[in-house]
Structure formats: structure tokens, C-alpha cells
């Protein structure tokens, strides 16, 4: 096609774009994906029966605070990497804040507990399944983000894939908190983080293939 014709054809469809369009697009993808993950938790895994009680205690909020703040930090990175001129990432250091805070809590927890119980506390009841469940719950959210990216313009595909995977994993872990009854900080720090990192690695692996445009 002639370039002039192409331009006149493209210029026939120029809807206004709001300033927050990139953020909205990502939020919708994540929201739809998280809805599917949430349904999976409710239908397949079951909400923990003592959720109402747990929400009155501090450990639930410790877990939720950890996963939710990582999710937000990852979203900030994803939003930047969704634009083509993303040479320099801002604010990526805030990812370290929840990790360091939870590490502090974990150390305090270990100091309070006799060493003989450390292993049981670290492994909890579900260390074998926790990372895999987080990874599985991350899939619908990752797919939602792939949909979001179809209209976005990442140029560093591996980094964008990793950030999207990280966000999907962290949001999935946030949803998974509704099911998981574990209470220890070092459990969360290890096995939740492992699940989230698995999702991020998968994102980094698939990014260059799936995010091309």
C-alpha cells in the first residue's frame, strides 16, 4: 500500500486517549486475571475457614502486606516497561523494602523460637505445594497481562516479561493468602517468594516470544 493511503486510513480512527491509559490497560488485565485466580481459590482450594478470625490477627496482614507491596512495586516496573522509551527504570529499589522488612520480622521470629522448632516453622505444613500453587494461580493473571500488552509497546521484552511475571506472581500470592493458613514470616519469605520468583522467571523466559509486536 502507498504510504499516503496508509496515513489517511490510519487517521480515520483517532479516538481520544486518556493520560492513564497504560495504567488502566494493565489494571484491567490484572483484574480480570485475578478474578479467575480468586474463583480457582474459592472453588478448588477453598477459603481458609478461619479467615474472619485471621483477619483480626497480625500475621494475615503481614502476609498480605508483603505480597501486596511486591505486587504494587512490580506493577510500577511493568508500567514503565510497557512504554518503548524505558531505558531507565525508576523506583525498582522499592522492591527491596518489603523483602527487608519481612526478613527483619523473620529474624525476630527465629530469635523468639527455640532452635529445635525452626525447621518445622520454616517448612510449615505446605512448603511442598505453596510455590507451585502460587505459580499456578499466577497463570490467569499473566494471561491477563499478555492481553494488556497487546496494545502496549515494550522494547525490552525479557525485562517486560519478567516484570509482568513478577506482578502476576505477587498478585497470585495475594489471592493465595485467602487459602493459605501458614503463619510464620520465614515460611512466607521463602516459599511465597519462591512461587513469585518462579512466575517472574517464566515471564522472563516467555517475554521475548510472547510480547513481540
Amino acid at each position: 500500500m502507498n504510504t499516503d493511503d496508509l496515513i489517511s486510513q490510519l487517521s480515520q480512527d483517532v479516538p481520544p486517549v486518556s493520560r492513564g491509559a497504560v495504567g488502566w490497560r494493565l489494571a484491567i488485565g490484572i483484574g480480570l486475571g485475578a478474578l479467575v485466580s480468586m474463583l480457582a481459590v474459592v472453588l478448588a482450594l477453598g477459603i481458609r475457614p478461619d479467615l474472619g478470625l485471621a483477619m483480626r490477627g497480625p500475621t494475615f496482614w503481614m502476609k498480605w502486606g508483603y505480597t501486596a507491596s511486591i505486587a504494587l512495586a512490580a506493577l510500577v516496573m511493568t508500567t514503565q516497561l510497557a512504554r518503548p522509551d524505558s531505558n531507565r527504570l525508576r523506583w525498582s529499589w522499592i522492591l527491596a523494602v518489603p523483602v527487608l522488612l519481612l526478613t527483619g520480622l523473620g529474624v525476630a521470629e527465629l530469635a523468639r523460637t527455640p532452635p529445635g522448632k525452626w525447621l518445622a516453622m520454616w517448612l510449615g505444613h505446605s512448603w511442598l505445594v505453596c510455590p507451585w500453587l502460587v505459580l499456578a494461580l499466577a497463570m490467569p493473571i499473566f494471561v491477563g497481562l499478555l492481553w494488556s500488552f497487546r496494545r502496549l509497546a515494550p522494547t525490552r521484552l525479557r525485562a517486560a516479561g519478567a516484570a509482568a511475571g513478577l506482578a502476576a506472581g505477587a498478585f497470585a500470592a495475594t489471592v493465595y493468602c485467602l487459602h493459605c493458613p501458614e503463619v510464620s514470616a520465614i515460611f512466607v519469605l521463602t516459599w511465597y517468594s519462591l512461587g513469585i520468583l518462579l512466575a517472574a522467571s517464566l515471564g522472563a523466559l516467555l517475554g521475548p516470544r510472547l510480547l513481540r509486536w
Partner: protein
């Protein structure tokens, strides 16, 4: 109308606000810019170059929501143009990069690390705006002197002098900071 940063940015924002005429004018102004950009970097037939230009125009159109109004339009545009070029080299083997493709890909990863360390933008902010703009165009966005002159509507010698003076001032500043 001259295709300088401010004019292009104004048209882009007009398009984002729903002004179809501004959007059409923008795309038309981008055609010569992109042709120059690709001809300088890829050897291939005119048809191949034109394919690349059209692909980039379509990307600029369909991905326009990713432009951040607070940031430089040309940086956004050439980031897309560069991406489309690398993607094109990978997909269609008819076009060949003039510089090694490897180099191009390595530079992509190297660039963020280097620029994060140096904090170029902060340094440039201390320069007079024309010098900063010209350094940005020729040294960061990879435009040639001629392209930068064209984009800003000034003479080529003016571009060279601005870049030269700006870089000299930056060197003085960095060395002053070390001492």
C-alpha cells in the same frame, strides 16, 4: 511546518486528545524522518525501507497510548523505530543492518546500566536547553547531525557547535565534581 520536537509533540498530544487532523499531520511529518532514520542504518531496497516506515507508522498509531505526555516525543518515536528495525532484521532477512546486529543488541542491554550510573538526564538538565537537546538527539537518540538539525529547524553547524560546547561543559562539570 518544520518537524521539530515541539511541533511533533504538539501534534501528538492533539491526536491523543482526539484531533484526527493533527494525527494525520503528525504521521505525514514522520515519513521523511523515518525514511532518513532507516536509510542511514539499514541497507536494502527502497521497498524494504518503505515497509519498515509503514510498519513503524502503524505502530505509532496503534500504540499511541504508550506515549507519556510529560516526556520527549522524539525519544518515544525513535525507541519504537529502533525496536521495529531490530524486529525486522530478525524476521525478514532481506534487510541488513549497516552496523553489526550483535552490537545493536548488546548496546540495548548495556545502555540502561550505563545511563543509570551516569544519570545523564540530571547532568543535561544543568546545560542550556539547546545544547542539552542537541546532545540528547545526536548522542542518546542516535540521530545524525543532519537529522537533528532537520528535527529542530536549525543549521547543521549550529548543532555541531551546541553539541561540542555542551559536551565540553559536561566534562568540566564532571571533572569539577571529582576534584
Amino acid at each position: 511546518m518544520r518537524a521539530d520536537e515541539d511541533a511533533l509533540r504538539g501534534l501528538m498530544i492533539g491526536g491523543l486528545d482526539g484531533d484526527a487532523a493533527a494525527h494525520a499531520a503528525l504521521l505525514r511529518l514522520l515519513v521523511p524522518l523515518l525514511r532518513g532514520f532507516y536509510r542511514r542504518r539499514a541497507s536494502g531496497s527502497d521497498d524494504d525501507i518503505e515497509d519498515l516506515v509503514q510498519e513503524t507508522l502503524i505502530a505509532v498509531h496503534t500504540r499511541r497510548a504508550t506515549y507519556d505526555r510529560e516526556r520527549a516525543f522524539t525519544a518515544w518515536l525513535f525507541a519504537i523505530a529502533r525496536y521495529k528495525m531490530v524486529d525486522h532484521f530478525r524476521r525478514v532477512r532481506r534487510l541488513h543492518p549497516i552496523d553489526g546486529l550483535e552490537e545493536l543488541l548488546v548496546a540495548d542491554d548495556f545502555e540502561p546500566a550505563a545511563s543509570a550510573r551516569l544519570d545523564v538526564e540530571d547532568l543535561l538538565a544543568a546545560l542550556p536547553s539547546k545544547q542539552a537537546r542537541m546532545i540528547r538527539a545526536t548522542r542518546l537518540h542516535g540521530l545524525s547531525i543532519a537529522e537533528a538539525a532537520e528535527a529542530d529547524g536549525i543549521g547543521e553547524s549550529d548543532v555541531k557547535v551546541s553539541v561540542h560546547r555542551g559536551l565540553k561543559a559536561l566534562v568540566a562539570r564532571i571533572q569539577g565534581g571529582v576534584r
